[in-house]
Symmetry: C2
DNA sequence: TTGAAAGCGCTAACAG
DNA sequence: CTGTTAGCGCTTTCAA
């Protein structure tokens, strides 16, 4: 594989000149530029990323830091990763995957290697040790999600409040007045609090209050089993409920299954919808789930763009929140006896919401 | 951040000596070694990966090449990626994600950058252009999946024949004699033939023949919708069928839904099971799917290990096939009238099968 | 057992 | 506009 030196020799110029055309960093006479480009083509020259990285002190590699655990955001995570990788590629960056624990130790070690120019943190907790590590090692980073303290942060996140509102509006539009909320939950291995879970409950209560709906909140873990349990609790605690919003995509199918087993029809007796699950999963449920989709690919793409923006130093990327989009399935329907027609259209995608 | 030079100065040795202890590449007096280690600790030294890569001509980075398209193996892909990343990390390698098309062009460009030491190819086609590119650029690589021609290849793959056998055995054990097969299928954008799809049909036919079962093969694409269509075709083509094996995890829920809509109960009238879908997806179906699981994490982990084995040059990793494991759900049951009790145990995991 | 020194292939002053 | 040159931080002969 040809090196710059060989290209330079072939084109009869100095190695610096080759570098200049390559990086477009100095004006070059069209003639010489042409000679050089010719030589590069002839020799099949490809610039060596590693050497470039060492000399320029920028590797053009960014890391996607994802949770080490298997259990979170299973189907959505894939979209995150692929979306991020593609966005990175388009900006001529590489994406490495760093599965690390929530304490920032492993992260610190990795950062010490000076391999990456910046980091994209996914699955951010309200108080996240990794953020401290990043600050301390003073590595550029962006978040997918956001911590409690937002000062000086570059983040892209789901607008959970708006997403819940969409869900509630949908159900209210179908005549429902007894809407319960099953929140995802997690409190283990130093997982202080996953943002969407933490925020969503308050948002639900607020919305319920505004609409004079008596709030009913249950919790579930990230499993089908847990959804079944929630169904039991729901029927015990608030049997008059006609609609449920489930904050966890894994639990939703379990909830439906158990409701059915106990003789409730979905959506006949009770409507069920999930919050921020992927369309894939929603489509696989039976009945198919109505959901406010998680804009997975978009989030990670925006995250990568924000980070690269930071690295390439133009402007410091505005933090932004993205809202999910209502995807209608067969798991929600008009409240019994309302006589309302089945709603069956797909809402238009919302545009990014710039955030002060 | 301290460099080796500073460590050397602090320890009163030459930079070479520091390198020797770091890489354990030459014998060093315990005393000096200690001094050096002390200095490294004091200065918080971390070896710069980029410099190391340039000097040693090994970056300790490997690439996972995944299909550019969104639509294949959705839920399983995540496991692949995370599994690969973790395996890489354990071997002190980094994993970059390269989403590239099936023609090898983008891949060739990426390889030219000399960033990675080797490549792990997933989602391998029977005749795969990317393999040619890799050979030609003479980059070490391993496959997850396998091409038609296996000469000189390092691969890890699903033992599709064995997996189908497990499925058929399960159904036969429940008394079924009319077992149809719905194969996943794909023939677009140069996707010559996804191994498991191509191989599975023949395997099914062979097994059916052995058991004197009349083979019924249908096809579906990777969507819920497509599964519904397949259900219609099935009832039209072979209404006497009592059990179906579906080769695509996305289609299975659709198939069940449509069978149900047409008045068939699952598993009462007809048992349905899927081949090589992830447990996650299987659990989310309603009824939960019986499936022969795809050993996603394992495959990618083995793939990474095989590749690194190749790179670190010890032995050239034996190709191996992994068999899925039967995971019982509620979508399969005894054939109507057989009076057989419902089978409800989980088979033991099979060990890796070395392959000549 | 240790050190000196020549690179790895490229970038980026600085000089002309 | 182009060339010279000094590194980037580490590995790795070769010699001591």
């Amino acid at each position: 594989m040809a090196t710059m030196r060989e290209v330079a020799r072939a084109a009869g110029v100095s190695i610096a000149t080759v570098s200049f055309v390559l990086n477009d960093t100095k004006p070059i006479t069209p003639a010489t530029r042409l000679r050089i480009e010719q030589a590069m083509a002839d020799l099949g020259f490809r610039r060596n990323m590693v050497a470039r990285a060492l000399a320029s002190r920028r590797s053009r590699i960014i890391a996607l830091v994802c949770p080490f655990s298997e259990d979170r955001m299973a189907p959505t995570a894939r979209e995150f990763i692929i979306g991020a990788a593609r966005a990175a590629k388009e900006a001529d960056y590489h994406l490495v995957i760093w599965p690390v624990g929530n304490d920032g130790d492993a992260l610190a070690t990795l950062l010490g290697q000076k391999l990456v120019d910046g980091v994209l943190l996914m699955d951010v907790q309200m108080d996240d040790a990794r953020v401290d590590v990043l600050r301390q090692m003073d590595t550029p980073f962006a978040l997918i999600g956001r911590t409690r303290d937002l000062s000086g942060l570059h983040y892209i996140d789901i607008d959970i409040a708006a997403s819940i509102r969409i869900a509630m509006d949908h159900l209210a539009g179908l005549g429902h007045r007894k809407i319960a909320f099953v929140n995802g939950w997690q409190e283990h291995e130093g997982v202080a609090g996953f943002g969407p879970y933490v925020r969503s409950e308050g948002d639900y209560r607020k919305l319920a209050e505004d609409r004079e709906i008596k709030p009913v909140v249950l919790h579930c873990r990230r499993s089908v089993r847990s959804g079944r349990d929630a169904a039991g609790e729901l029927l015990a605690a608030a049997p008059e409920t006609t609609a449920v919003v489930v904050g966890d995509e894994a639990a939703a199918p379990g909830l439906i299954a158990e409701l059915t087993r106990r003789g409730r029809t979905v959506p006949g007796d009770i409507s069920v919808m999930s919050l921020l699950s992927s369309v894939d999963v929603a489509a696989m449920c039976n009945p198919t789930l109505t959901t406010v989709t998680a804009p997975g690919t978009e989030l990670s793409r925006l995250g990568v763009e924000a980070l690269i923006c930071l690295l390439d130093g133009s402007r410091p990327a505005t933090p932004m929140l993205r809202t999910g989009v209502l995807a209608l399935g067969e798991s929600t329907g008009p409240v019994r006896g309302s006589g309302k027609p089945r709603q069956r259209r797909r809402l238009p995608s919302t545009a990014p919401t710039p955030r002060g």
